[in-house]
Symmetry: C2
Subunit: 205 residues, 2 copies
């Protein structure tokens, strides 16, 4: 059958189509790479208007990744599965999630909180400074609490929980903190969006 079988060519052509259809914008070169990769992952041009990339956030993420040897915390196993291991390994970095951890499930039950929240508490206690949220508003609120209590000081956050209860509000509240961040405003977001943002950052290196 006659279809493009070269993944590199498919991606190149996809980005060309996205650029030609996305219309006017004010994104810089690096911002545009993130926006295009998110649209590539979702086929949803609305992300052009929903993505908020704080000034300095890309530099903050790249500095951490380039330094190497860091652990990134994600609130879903879909994110840990989706981020390019080849590139992370080359940087001696790794991405983990505690959300399916048995110990975390027990702690969450005991405290009457979500596993997502208990996972954040553990990650912060381990000194992790790079956080990815594609699912859980409760986890994002937990990180916000820990920042306000001066117990956490993340150096880079992707805040993209998706959904109808708490997601938009959690992101709006989190955005008020002076943290280097990339967020998706409103209800949209999710694990594939968060993964696309991180992979776009990795491809910049």
């Amino acid at each position: 059958m006659n279809y493009i079988k070269n993944p590199g060519k498919i991606e190149e052509e996809s980005f060309r189509i996205i650029e030609s259809e996305m219309g006017e914008h004010n994104f810089g070169e690096r911002e545009l790479k993130i926006v295009k990769r998110v649209i590539h992952t979702t086929a949803d041009f609305e992300y052009k208007d929903l993505l908020y990339i704080r000034e300095g956030a890309i530099d903050a993420a790249i500095t951490l990744l380039k330094k190497g040897g860091i652990t990134i915390y994600a609130d879903t196993n879909m994110i840990t599965a989706g981020i390019s291991k080849k590139m992370l390994n080359a940087l001696n970095c790794k991405v983990i999630s505690y959300v399916r951890d048995e110990e975390i499930a027990a702690i969450a039950k005991e405290k009457g909180i979500t596993r997502s929240m208990a996972g954040i508490e553990k990650a912060v206690s381990e000194g992790i400074e790079f956080f990815l949220f594609g699912n859980a508003p409760t986890a994002l609120y937990k990180l916000k609490e820990l920042i306000e209590e001066k117990k956490a000081a993340p150096k880079f956050v992707v805040a993209a929980p998706v959904g109808f209860v708490g997601a938009a509000q959690s992101k709006e509240d989190f955005e008020k903190l002076p943290v280097p961040m990339i967020t998706v405003r409103g209800r949209k977001g999710g694990s594939t969006v968060t993964t696309a943002i991180v992979n776009a950052l990795l491809y910049m290196l």
Copy 2:
């Protein structure tokens, strides 16, 4: 802080909001469960008009899952990470992907095809009959070829590759086959959408 921390309550309230906002539709009770879970995962109501659930497809999937002991093939590791292991294990079923397999990478290179295509060839050769596509049009075309050559006869397929090159066409072409299937028409789809469809089916059991 004052926010809902009970995941069950969050989901219940989310589904209530989705139902109240989605407007008129002709979905039956089970179809509606799938549509609502996809909207829940994406916060994108357009899926209401993009999802195609073939008559008999839900029964086909449920029959396979209930029989138990089956292996499901997915074209991404994000899908294998996202599907509820608790429910799959209870049914003695599992979900796998060969897309990051070293052996598959070598075969793909040798044949000049994508790893996604080589993964499908291996899965078919192992007698797998339940396929999930959230990423690769080339993999979906490969399964179509194998069906037309009478080398494959899948009993249930979720066809939801996302993207700008080949995705929409691959799904439109695949839809012409008389296979029990759920597809997402047009460019949209992706791993989270495919995962939501399968989890909705699992929750019906």
